[in-house]
């Protein structure tokens, strides 16, 4: 199956197409460079052309044309994914959703939006019009698109209260277009949502999203300093366990993260200080301070509504989740990170902290999970090569710390190393030619893959075809 790029481009030339090589290269990349492994694997890949559709009709037209000419299609929003979600492995067309950014409906507790809306912008509009806001968002709030978050994210700022994005109730409805001779438009709710959410656009194109909302508050943002990593972790867990204290974020930064990598925080901490970063509803500050009083070694060193600094540290969410890694990378491009699921046991977290000292700097995000909570680890990892990284992952797995490996570009390797039957079944139905974001779903290409080593997609097309 050889793509006929020039025929597809000709048929789509009346649309908003990007052909400038610099633009095409730029829009073929995401934040995959957080990983030295992905950087080496994917840096040379790019699309043949990029289209910026304005409507669902235009998306359908692109899909029909690309289907007819066997051209791969990869979706891109803000391009802030860290797993190479938006990188076209086999060239072809990148659909950039930036112009499909309308907030279509706001109701009590929900919003209907187009996938290309930048999260910060849509949230501002929702807030202004209704006093509500999104339940959760990635730390790349200012750049990420909502479609990218739904298709490639797993949680974020807000998960401390609402759990993971995949948890029931955190996505209400997705409208999806298929990649067939005659694309179909489908509306997914309930269990069907799992077909296309967090599927990297491998089996359908999301054209409309309905999400639940929460009330918007002037969250009080704070840094709380602790003498020990254990004390910081225990406090963050205790905070997340208080049903009456409404929070949006509880992050733990082991020493010396704040001193080494948080430039505007550095003057206020030593290299031995462990920080907890939080966002607390203003009307629960009394409850928060009362809880903190029970953890007698915690000091609030910054408080957005009160104890301010000469130079504001900026929004608290730009310290947490993957922004912690981003800040570290600004100091040392050799650093990288992991994504670890420790579960709710503080002892296990502290054991991992002790075990991997010197190799990584512990960074946790606390999430509600089922009947309890879970510490999600996004530790900053000292410079190391692929083999060393693989060993570090294996060492975590030996301790029964589940890894969502951010040094892999496939759904399975970045997930639970197993086939998601709902996703592959829907891909068979909705993308019979396998043209959507090819190479990202191992189950499609190599059902018997054994995960012994990194998957290597055989259809990878290192250089784009010459444009006509």
């Amino acid at each position: 199956m050889t793509p006929n790029i020039s025929a597809a481009k000709a048929a789509l030339s009346h649309l908003d197409m990007e052909e400038n090589p610099a633009t095409v290269r730029n829009k073929s990349r995401d934040f995959f460079w957080y990983s030295p492994v992905l950087k080496a694997e994917l840096d040379h890949l790019e699309a043949d052309f990029v289209i910026n559709p304005k409507t669902e009709e235009e998306i359908i037209e692109i899909l029909k044309v690309c289907y007819a000419h066997d051209v791969p299609v990869t979706m891109r929003g803000g391009g802030t994914g860290n797993y190479g979600q938006a990188i076209p492995l086999a060239g072809g067309c990148v659909i950039h959703t930036t112009q499909m950014n309308k907030v279509k409906e706001i109701g009590a507790g929900y919003v209907v939006v187009e996938p290309g809306a930048i999260i910060k912008e849509m949230d501002a509009e929702i807030k202004e019009k209704s006093g509500q806001e999104l339940r959760m968002f990635p730390s790349t709030y200012a750049q990420a698109s909502i479609g990218g978050f739904v298709a490639g994210g797993s949680g974020g700022v807000g998960s401390a209260n609402w759990g993971a994005l995949r948890d029931l109730g955190n996505i209400n409805r997705l409208r999806v277009v298929t990649m067939e001779e005659e694309p179909r438009i489908l509306e997914f709710t309930g269990e069907e949502l799992h077909r296309v959410s967090h599927a990297y656009g491998t089996n359908g194109i999301i054209t409309e999203i309905e999400l639940p909302l929460a009330p918007a508050y002037e969250w009080v943002e704070m840094f709380v300093r602790f003498d020990t990593f254990r004390a910081a972790t225990e406090f963050s867990g205790a905070l997340t366990s208080e049903p009456g204290i409404l929070i949006k974020l509880a992050s733990v930064y082991a020493a010396p993260i704040a001193h080494s990598f948080f430039q505007r925080v550095k003057p206020y901490v030593t290299e031995n200080d462990h920080l907890v970063g939080v966002m607390v509803a203003p009307h629960n500050m009394d409850g928060f301070m009362t809880l903190l009083g029970r953890h007698d070694d915690g000091d609030v060193i910054y408080r957005s509504d009160d104890l301010q600094w000469a130079r504001s540290p900026g929004p608290m969410y730009e310290f947490g989740w993957n922004h912690t890694t981003l800040r570290a990378l600004k100091f040392n491009k050799g650093l990288t990170y992991l994504q670890v699921r420790y579960g709710g046991d503080v002892d296990k977290v502290v054991e991992a902290y002790e075990t991997f000292k010197g190799k990584l700097h512990m960074h946790l995000e606390v999430m509600r999970e089922g009947n309890g909570l879970s510490f999600a680890g996004l530790p900053i990892v000292e410079p190391m090569n692929k083999d060393e990284l693989d060993q570090l992952v294996a060492d975590h797995e030996a301790m029964e710390c589940m890894i969502f490996n951010p040094h892999r570009y496939t759904l399975e390797e970045g997930g639970r190393q197993s086939t998601d039957k709902r996703q592959i079944d829907f891909k068979r139905e909705a993308d019979p030619k396998g043209l959507l974001n090819p190479g990202k779903m191992i189950a499609w290409d190599e059902p018997d893959f054994d995960y012994a080593d990194m998957y290597s997609y055989k259809g990878m097309r290192p250089k784009p075809e010459a444009t006509e």
Copy 2:
């Protein structure tokens, strides 16, 4: 110390005083008659006079005068307490807060209100003015005052999401007047809240309350039918454990409660049907139905926004919490109830259900509790005498099911059978003569009480003094 009732009355005669014997008797009683034990113990007690103050200044005046003349003072709001909280054991003055019912301030996430506000009325005002509502309320929403809930309640509709009233963050501030020669006005936040919240007005008079608010939604109210008690309990627990599904109520009614005692539900159930009653945010109905689909034996038999009945069952909250018992009492005045804390283990709940079959009908309310959830039991108990009830309590305690005995009128016996140091310490400070709701705090009268049998207050004054 002999109260000089007539002198106190004379000094307060310019206030709104009730002396009509029927009114005084009526306002000296609460919902203590849920318990046959309390009915026998307290039925003959009443105040000497009742005053309806309009302002904090009037309350201060009443307290000064009663202090000077050694007259006991008992607070009363809606009079819906079940532990005899508002019954004056030693006569004296009942302060009825009904006219202190103003909503003083509504902000983003909080309200400031006077204690006598009827919860349903203040909630309607909050909703209309701000689109917000109270986090939690008792099933006696339509009659109860907010002051009574704070001083004598422990949780209710909303605790499925926000936990117990005593949990950090669920009360922000209490303004309290002391019972001294010169009453002081104190403002309590943080740990100090525990001095007077759930203290039955034994150590200070609450004159202003600041509470957190939540967004108001058109909650979808449902009855879901199950074949087994275990399935109903498991579903209610699973629902409360989903961080992304916003609920306000999850109650479990073992068979044959619905068939026997829920008149308008009866036509839709058999005596073998176990029900779960829920209130779910409308924008999370898709998540709810998805979760229900995973519990394949649950059928929605009533849904307020859709699957309605010829005769509406009325608000769902008037089935749950203590209204379950109230409905049963309408069918059989001999029935009563218990308050049990089972914790989060379904097996333990089911074990209790099997063990006490024939003696009680299991009714659960699911609450968030710390890092998890807890099943709060308010089982309906078959007619039995005090000794049998005491045995039933002992049998529960032997199974490590904690009982909050609703057949006792003291704070300690209705609580954890131990002295609350914060409450007694504050009583020493704020009520040196021990005139506030006397007989309700064992620690004040008999610090060495051993809880071997029911406490009997020696200062009980069976008949009111003749009015002048």
